[in-house]
Structures are given as structure tokens and as C-alpha cells.
Amino acid sequence: MSTQTPTTTEAAAPEPGEAATKKTLGIGFWVCIGWLLVMVFVAVFATRLPIPDPKFNFIEPGQAGPSKGPSTAHWFGTDKDARDVFARTMYGARVSLTVGFIAIVFGMFVGGTLGILAGFFRGWIDRIFSFMFLVLLSFPSLVLAIMLTALLDRKLFTISMILGVLAVAPVGRLARATTMQYAEREFVIAARSLGAKNKRIIVRELLPNVAIPMSALALLGMAVAIVAEGGLAFLGLSVERSITWGGMIQLGSDSSKTLQNQPWIAFFPIGVLFLTVFALNFAGDRVRTYFDVKETSL
């Protein structure tokens, strides 16, 4: 994207102003957003949609073996308990999206606040918060998540909060770095010299500059949280007694035999999980470059 831009600033920006091109997010971005909206819709209205009951055993009389491949009746086939894989995949979106959403909202709010405060005030506040981030980052995130799930219950909200705590440190660090980068700019000194109080400087001058690049992180962070929840579920450590993608994949791959003979049980949920994570990553990346370009044209 950048090697071909002329190396000289004077050639690149003779007239930075009015005629500057409008950058677009591109079709890919909207396709991804479309997919995500479909998933959200399915998750919210799963019970009211004309899809089979995910817990019902579709055992047909006279047929050997409960698991069957994809058919018009069961689009994604049925699993070893003869349950409809398509319906279960749709219901699985509920846990994944809820956990991903709550986790990243919590992480962004707490991490963002701490990071901005640390980056703005520096000094002992910075030292305390940064040490906190460092302690949190000393645990590989999945290890910390496993440890906490072992100690706490495995309810939807608890799992979401555990993953939210994991997001605090990375979000906080980025917020701190971005804040520091802007806090050194002269417009912040100017704001201070015209008598603006700290609160005003943080809210009016810094927050818009920090929040917009961080919005891209929200999408990427949600992807990370969904993957983490999937990992926990795969290990049997996520939300108990509910349908999760990770759990379904585990069921479809618990032995090489299953994987060999009934690959659809694992591969359909893998596909949907992959598409969702991909969409979040792609959209997040587009948002990031979209704002990056704006920034460089300054």
C-alpha cells in the first residue's frame, strides 16, 4: 500500500485540502459486516426461526447408527446423538457472540479507562496500572482463563467476565501508548495553556483521538474473545449445559474414527466459527487502515 507513494512529501501533498479523495471501506468490509449481522440475527431469533430443535434426537426407525451426513432434512447432517448439526450451529452463535461482546465491552471500558489515565497522568498512576497490566500479561491468556474457570463457576456471565479481564491488559497498554503519543502533541499543551482542566483535556482532546483507532481493536478483540471461548469450550471448560461451537467441534473430533467417518460433525461448526472470526478480523483491519490513511494525510 505504501511503497509506491512518492517518497517526497512535497510531491505527494501539494494540495492537502479540499480535493482529497474519499477513502472507502471497500466491498469486503460490508460483506463481512453482512455476515456478522446474519449471525447476530440468528443468535437473537434462534428460537423463533424455522429451524429444528437442537436437542431433539432424530432417530429414524430401521436405520443403523444415529449419525448421518448432510441431507435436505438436516443440512449439516446429524451428530452421534442424532441431533441436527445445523440447528446446533445456529444456537451455538448465541454463546459465542454474547461472550465475545460482553468480554470486549468490559475490556475496552476498563482497559481503555486505565490506559488513558496512565498515559495522561504518568507518574505513580502509570506505574501502578502498568505493573497491573504486566502482571496480567505474565500469564498466557488461555492458561489464566483455564485457571479462573477452574476456580469460578461456568455460567455465561462468569465466562464472559473472565475473558473480559483478559482483554484489559492488551487494551490498556494500547490505550496508554496512544494517549502518550497524543499527550505530547502541541494541541494538548495549547489546551492546557488556555486553562482547560484535565478532565476536559482527556474527554475533548484525547478521547476522540484514542477512541477512533481503538474502535478497530474492538472488532479484533471480539474475534480473539470468540476464539478463546471456543478453545475453552473445546476443552470442556466453557459455559456448562449449553450448545457451543467449541463443544460441538470437540464432539466431532473426540476420536480419529469420528473425524474420519463423520467429518461433518466437526467441520460445519469449524466453518461457521472460521467465517465469523474472519469477518471480525477483516472488518477490524479495514477500519484500522481506513483511519490510518486519514491520519497520514494530515
Partner: protein, 337 residues
């Protein structure tokens, strides 16, 4: 040079008076210190423009920010209209700062990239809740027009849609809306093209008359400083070398460093004789400043006393002060200008 002393401080209607200002910063965790400013003093009379000039690392920008108490000085006294700023509490300082405003070198970094330009200019009024909404808008319009920016365009554009020179005008407008007494300009034209530089200098001169301002103008370009200033202070490695009325300084530079600076300026005249530049060397480090006169390692007149004793600013007549053990002999014939 590179000396101390307060002999040059004046009585009268003083807007800003800085005495024995010291600014030191730690270098990482090495235990070393940057001696950015080491005991300088100067004052500015109401309506005057003081130029602060020197090479990079001489502490001129640090001095500018120190007057705003960003950050607070290590020691020394800074008085604005007789009010000692260094001992003020945060809340009092906040209101005292509105009397002086700052303009910075980088016109683009001076404005919040994500805010509408007009909001940035109105910001000071919002902070202090001055006037009704309509009054504020009217004042913002007036100030924007006086710096040559279309208020309409300012209401719909962000900084990156303006050129460097225009951004600098907008910064000036923001500094003006609170009706300050003193404006500290930190290299305001260094990042601009020559033709735009002239526009901004002329604008500052006009606004100074129109708003009754006092200016402190910090720059590394002597010709620019001379043009805009009534009085010029030359700094070297955190010390004051020479302070004098602008024209007098150029007519009879008494400090060898001032002389070197003047000789180094490229003159747009092919017939001008170029001074030999090879012997001048480069500035020392503010982390380990030289003893005695800080200029002595680069000075062709330096002797033992320069290495051991720090020179004090002394009067050489006509409001012209120099801190040097061996000030240059002044040619008696000063051209009448």
C-alpha cells in the same frame, strides 16, 4: 559568556520578568541531568517584542514553556504582571495562564486533528464560559477574520484541510480569543516556506498593534528575529550571552558567539564575502556543559579565565548587555539607520 547576572533587568511597566530560571531534566535513569536552562534572566516591557535566539539545544524553547509553567521550573522566579507564577496553586495558575498564550512550531500538531477548526478556536471561551453563545460565535468570527481565515470554512473543516500557513493562523486565532497580554511564539515560522513566513510575520506585527500585545518570539533564524523584535536575547547552552536592542545588536555584536551566528547566516547576495566557517565547531552537550564560560571550547578568544570563571552580564551602553570576559571591540562608527 554564557553567563548569568541580572544587571540588564529593567524597572517600569514589565509584563514578564524571569529571574535566574533553571530547568533541569533527568536523562532516563542514568542519574545524569540535562542542564537545559542554567540561570537566565530577562524581562519584557509592555508592548515590546523580545526575540530569543540560539542554536538547537540552547534552551530557548524550554524557556518558552517554563514561562507557561509546563513543566514547572527547577528554580527561579517568573512573574507575569508582577504575579509570581512558580508558587501559584494549580487553580490560580490555570486562570493566570489565560493572560499568556503560546504558538508552536508545528502548525499541524498544534491543532487537534479530529476536531473542527472553529471548535478549536472557540474552545478557550467554552472553557471559561465567557459571554453568551452568540457573543462567543461573534468573537470567534471576528478573530478568524482578523487572521485571514474564512469563518465559514473553519466551521466545516478539520486541520488537515488547511495548509501549514493557514493552520498557523488558526493557532494564532485560538491564542487571541482570550485577549491575552503576552503571546509566546515558539519557532512559529520555522516550518513554513519563505513566502508564507513573511505572511505570518506581518500578521503578527499587525495583530500586535491591533490587540495591544506583548510578544516573546523564539527562533533560530537571526534575520527573522531581528525583523520582528525590539530587543533580542542570544542564548547558548542554557545561558544568556548577550541582550540588546535589536538594531544595536546587529550593528555592534559584542559577544563572539553572536558574531559567529551573524557571520553564518547565508546572505542572498553573491558578492558577499563568506566568512571561513571551518573553525566554529559544534555546540557542546547540555548534559555535560563546559566549565566557566560555556562557549569557551568554540571561542577563538578564549583564555584561562574563560575556562574557570563564568562571565556576568555587563552594560556596554545603550541598553546593550554582554556576558563575556573579552567582549569584541566595537567599531566606533555606527551607521545611522
Amino acid at each position: 559568556m554564557a553567563g548569568s547576572g541580572t544587571a540588564h533587568l529593567r524597572d517600569g511597566d514589565i509584563v514578564m520578568r524571569v529571574e535566574n530560571l533553571v530547568m533541569e531534566f533527568p536523562v532516563g535513569r542514568t542519574g545524569l541531568k540535562v542542564h537545559a536552562v542554567s540561570g537566565i534572566s530577562f524581562d519584557v516591557v509592555r508592548g515590546e517584542t523580545l526575540g530569543l535566539v540560539g542554536e538547537s539545544g540552547c534552551g530557548k524553547s524550554t524557556t518558552g514553556k517554563a514561562m507557561m509553567q509546563i513543566p514547572r521550573p527547577t528554580s527561579g522566579s517568573i512573574k507575569l504582571d508582577g504575579l509570581e507564577l512558580t508558587t501559584l496553586g494549580n487553580e490560580e495558575l490555570r486562570s493566570a495562564r489565560t493572560k499568556m498564550q503560546m504558538i508552536f512550531q508545528d502548525p499541524i500538531s498544534s491543532l487537534n486533528p479530529r476536531r473542527i477548526v472553529r471548535d478549536s478556536v472557540r474552545e478557550p471561551l467554552d472553557v471559561w464560559g465567557r459571554g453568551s453563545k452568540a457573543e462567543r460565535e461573534a468573537l470567534v468570527d471576528r478573530v478568524l477574520e482578523s487572521v485571514g481565515i474564512d469563518p465559514q470554512r473553519a466551521a466545516e473543516s478539520r486541520p488537515h484541510q488547511f495548509s501549514g500557513g493557514q493552520c498557523q493562523r488558526i493557532s494564532i486565532a485560538r491564542a487571541l480569543v482570550l485577549d491575552p497580554t503576552l503571546i509566546i511564539c515558539d519557532e512559529p515560522v520555522s516550518a513554513l516556506d519563505v513566502s508564507v513566513q513573511a505572511q505570518v510575520i506581518n500578521l503578527l506585527e499587525d495583530l500586535k498593534k491591533q490587540y495591544g500585545l506583548t510578544l516573546i518570539f523564539i527562533a533560530h533564524d537571526l534575520a527573522v528575529v531581528k525583523n520582528i523584535s525590539d530587543r533580542v536575547a542570544v542564548m547558548y547552552l542554557g545561558k544568556m550571552c548577550e541582550i540588546s536592542p535589536s538594531d544595536d545588536l546587529y550593528a555592534r555584536p559584542a559577544h563572539p558567539y553572536t558574531r559567529v551566528l551573524i557571520d553564518s547566516i547565508p546572505v542572498p547576495d553573491p558578492s558577499a564575502v563568506l566568512a571561513d566557517a571551518t573553525t566554529i565547531g559544534e555546540p557542546g552537550s547540555p548534559v555535560t556543559p563546559p566549565s566557566g564560560c560555556r562557549f569557551h571550547p568554540r571561542c577563538q578568544f578564549a583564555d584561562d579565565i574563560c575556562k574557570s570563571a563564568e562571565p556576568i552580564l555587563q552594560d556596554i551602553g545603550n541598553g546593550h548587555f554582554v556576558a563575556c570576559h573579552h567582549p569584541l571591540e566595537v567599531p566606533v562608527s555606527i551607521q545611522s539607520r
